[in-house]
């Protein structure tokens, strides 16, 4: 027997008691959807997990109306301290049900249980704990005293980190006093629906959190709804662009967190063993279904061969297979559609002359799988160096000088994240300063923390999530928001009225200085 063929160590599914079908979570209750229900399947086996309701326009109207009522009558009037209590309660319930949530996430998404257990779910709890602490401290969010919630937030999240993206969206929104209607991705609705159960368990006032399921048209109906004040979206750049067009000219505030093609820059003095781990973690974490994945490896030419050899050795030890096995490193690709896209771009890489190498691993018969793959001999003009693959595929490029590394790293329509590997602290600072990326990791990759703002440059979106900045995305300075919702003109008019009416003493003194500052810019 080979020791390295570890005996199966499956996490038990017994902890998870799923229903056969799930409705929409509106106004504190599960209700039937009026669209045609759909199936959620396990991407590792293609088995059906549950039937999921599909929200049509009328359902979206109901959800937004419930959120509006809850905002106006309950949530916006509640003290920050009380809102915080609810959020702390949710955070604790997430910890209590952590194992169950991790199993559900791995089942529905295909990610390895060790990631859902050790990364996703702990971060979800951390996000709620973090923003729970902010709920009664909004005066310190950087927007002046007594900032106001925006109102109803429409939130649409992707399938790569279903529950974590839910937490990134819901926790700051609720802390700031907004109510939400959230739509999880069509392929991964399960943990959002379990979260709805947690919301019930926490006794959150009805309508504060509403979760509606469905495909792209449901999302479009939600984002386009007139009574929504804030749109927060994480997903593809194409959809993000459509949303930006849809909400342009309305009063809605928008945050978009979109695609990426991050450069992971490895200098010749890097701590080599840790850099190899970082490269692996950067692109093969979550099967590469990470918008900030380090999908372009920029390695100094002098150590290229050594790095590639070490990478291949390391990749050969990765275990691909059952996401619920505790020793699995690489799980399933989330959907057939995504698998097709990965294959298409990979084939394009070969056609353009790059060299493909895939780790030797047995691919299970059912489900959607893609072996960890690296491309060498990649040119900056190749599609695999330009387009987001969103899969376990790494493109290796080389550079000669720090200037060239920076130029190549920035030469992308995206700008979400980047990594720097070097033993030289001054170089970390100098290079990070010139990278146009929202997050720059030094000698690490794919590390997240609720207190750290996350977001992109250019086509990677706008706005920041996490930290004080993430809170600010759900708040307005007191004078503007007290006007409530309406057309931009109405908001403006109301805002000026409010500033004149409400706090004349403070407001009259202020305008002169900021105006001057603004002009100077």
């Amino acid at each position: 027997m080979s020791f390295l063929e570890y005996a199966p160590a499956p996490e038990s599914r017994a902890i998870l008691s799923l229903r056969d079908s799930y409705g929409l979570f509106i106004d504190g209750e599960f209700v039937d959807g009026r669209g045609t229900p759909f199936q959620s399947i396990s991407p590792a086996s293609e088995e059906k997990i549950a039937t999921i309701a599909n929200a049509n326009q009328a359902d979206v109207d109901d959800a937004v109306a419930a959120a509006r009522r809850a905002h106006d009558r309950v949530w916006s009037r509640m003290s920050g301290r009380d809102r915080g209590k609810y959020l702390f309660r949710i955070a604790r319930l997430i910890q209590e049900r952590a194992r169950e949530l991790a199993v559900a996430e791995s089942l529905d998404n295909g990610k390895p249980i060790k990631e859902s257990r050790d990364v996703d779910v702990p971060l979800v709890a951390a996000w709620f704990f973090y923003y729970a602490g902010w709920a009664d401290k909004l005066d310190y969010a950087g927007l002046g005293a007594n900032p106001k919630a925006l109102g109803v937030a429409a939130q649409v999240i992707p399938w790569n980190f279903p529950l974590l993206m839910l937490a990134w969206k819901i926790a700051p929104a609720l802390a700031a006093g907004n109510t939400v209607v959230l739509k999880p991705a069509e392929t991964t609705p399960l943990t959002a629906l379990l979260f709805a159960e947690i919301v019930q368990q926490a006794d959150l006032p009805p309508g504060v959190v509403n979760i509606i399921t469905g495909a792209g048209d449901t999302g479009a109906a939600l984002v386009g709804h007139d009574d929504v004040d804030k749109v927060a979206f994480t997903g593809s750049t194409a959809v993000g662009r459509a949303i930006a067009k849809q909400v342009a000219g309305t009063h809605k505030k928008v945050t978009l967190e979109l695609g990426g093609k991050a450069a992971n820059i490895v200098f010749d003095d890097a701590p080599i063993d840790q850099a190899i781990e970082g490269i692996v973690n950067g692109i093969f974490f979550n099967q590469g279904h990470v918008c900030c994945a380090g999908s372009r490896l920029l390695v100094q030419e002098s150590i290229h061969d050594e790095v590639v050899e070490r990478l291949k050795t390391r990749l050969s030890t990765l275990r691909l297979g059952d996401p619920l096995d505790k020793n699995t490193d690489i799980g399933a690709i989330n959907s057939r559609e995504q698998l097709d896209r990965i294959r298409e771009l990979s084939d394009a890489g070969v056609a353009e002359g790059a060299d493909r190498w895939s780790a030797p691993c047995e691919i299970p018969e059912n489900g959607f799988w893609y072996a960890p793959t690296i491309f060498t001999n990649v040119q900056t003009s190749n599609r695999i160096a330009r387009e987001e693959i969103f899969g376990p595929v790494l493109s290796v490029l080389t550079f000669r000088t720090p200037q060239e590394a920076i130029a190549k790293a920035n030469n992308t329509p995206y700008g979400l994240s980047a990594g720097i590997w070097t033993d030289k602290g001054s170089r970390i600072l100098a290079v990070a300063d010139q990278l146009r990326a929202g997050v720059v990791w030094a000698n690490t990759f794919n590390r997240f923390d609720p207190s750290s703002p996350f977001g992109g440059y250019k086509e990677s979106g706008y706005g920041r999530e996490g930290g004080r900045h993430g809170l600010g995305a759900y708040l307005s300075p007191a004078s503007v928001t007290s006007a409530g919702r309406g057309t931009p003109r109405a908001v403006e008019a109301a805002a000026s009225a409010a500033s004149a009416d409400e706090k004349p003493a403070r407001r009259t003194r202020r305008p002169a200085r900021p105006a001057k500052k603004g002009a100077a810019k």
């Binding site: 027997m1 080979s2 020791f3 390295l4 063929e5 570890y6 005996a7 199966p8 160590a9 060790k114 050790d118 003095d269 890097a270 701590p271 080599i272 063993d273 840790q274 850099a275 781990e277 970082g278 030890t317 505790k326 020793n327 033993d423 000698n443 690490t444």
Partner: protein, 335 residues
């Protein structure tokens, strides 16, 4: 078991270093090796520690751990009686279960070697053949603070008494002062003192005492230095200084061993020692070895645990796997 011959070790060092192993040359070489990022190293070690080893894998792992143990007693109060008791335990760890493998070696102070050899009798031999070897700590263990002459005499005496393996300590003071040449020369001299009249040689384990080197960069350099100077094994600790063996330090040393093997084709052993008390922890080390240098390292001439209390915990786990329930400390013997 015999170590590599001294001549080839020195020639290899000269070839790798491109010059005489003096302070300046060694400094250039050792400081030219890529650094270690502490956070990343610890993260990787923690990741390896999450492997879930169950059922048949666990059964194999427990038996393998036993056969990799250097059962150790290094007390001022050691007596011939204590050593005989230790040897009896080493030969027959679980009297209730004859299928229990033997440990790899007993590890004692130099003056206790004759008693260990005597007690082992016909079982004394190469652990790769299922026998038990005798390891002796030498070179003014644990501090190493004495003259080279005394260290060499200490070593030669243990070898003459029948020790198969010598666990020497490096001069940490010299290492931290940057006198790499001195450390190199001392290891090389001790290696020479391991030689027997018949031309064979006792295997040399070089103890870095990582708890006193403190930084991972130091551990990495000391590992390279010890291997260059001719060590057959690199060992973390004496067990007398805290922290002793840790998983990140052992991982780092395994990475050096892996790189050395890639470069020269020579396989060097690794011995974490001190502080490994639970089967669960020992299994993490097996996983780390297998996933870093490969499974072929999981044999007595390439990997050892320096431990005393670990053995009984493994025996308890072993009994549990056989019977389905936990017993207690009175169902395993003390040595």
């Amino acid at each position: 078991m015999s170590g590599t011959s001294l001549v080839t070790a020195r020639e290899r060092a000269l070839a790798v270093l491109g010059g005489e192993p003096d302070d300046a040359t060694l400094r250039r070489y050792l400081h030219g090796i890529a650094g270690v990022d502490a956070v990343g190293l610890e993260q990787r070690a923690a990741g390896l520690g999450t492997r879930s080893i169950k059922t048949s894998s666990k059964k194999w792992a427990l038996d393998r751990i036993i056969s990799l143990i250097d059962l150790t007693t290094l007390e001022g109060a050691d007596t011939p009686g204590k050593v005989r008791s230790l040897v009896a335990k080493a030969m027959n760890p679980d009297p209730a279960d004859a299928t229990t493998p033997r440990v790899a070696a007993v590890c004692v102070y130099g003056d206790m070697v004759p008693y260990a050899v005597d007690a082992l009798g016909p079982v004394h031999g190469d652990p790769d053949d299922g026998l038990i070897s005798v390891a002796a700590v030498a070179t003014a263990f644990p501090s190493g603070r004495s003259s080279l002459e005394i260290k060499l005499a200490d070593t030669a005496e243990a070898v003459a008494n029948g020790a198969d393996e010598i666990d020497m300590v490096i001069d940490r003071g010299a290492f931290l002062a940057g006198r790499y040449g001195l450390v190199f020369d001392q290891i090389a001299a001790v290696k020479e003192a391991c030689r027997r009249p018949d031309g064979t040689s006792a295997s040399l384990k070089v103890i870095l005492e990582t708890g006193e080197l403190v930084t991972y960069d130091n551990v990495r350099r000391a590992s390279w230095l010890s291997i260059l100077a001719g060590g057959d094994f690199i060992k973390t600790s004496t067990g007398k200084v805290q922290p002793a063996a840790t998983l990140p330090v052992t991982l780092l040393m395994l990475e050096v061993v892996r790189d050395w093997h890639l470069m020269t084709g020579q396989r060097i052993g690794v011995k974490p020692a001190g502080g490994i008390r639970a089967s669960k922890d020992a299994i993490k080390y097996l996983v780390t070895v297998a996933e870093t240098v490969g499974e072929e390292w999981l044999q007595p001439h390439l990997f050892r645990f320096g431990a005393s209390s670990l053995l009984n915990d493994v025996l308890l786990q072993r009994q549990k796997m056989a019977t389905g329930h936990y017993s207690g400390p009175d169902y395993v013997t003390i040595d």
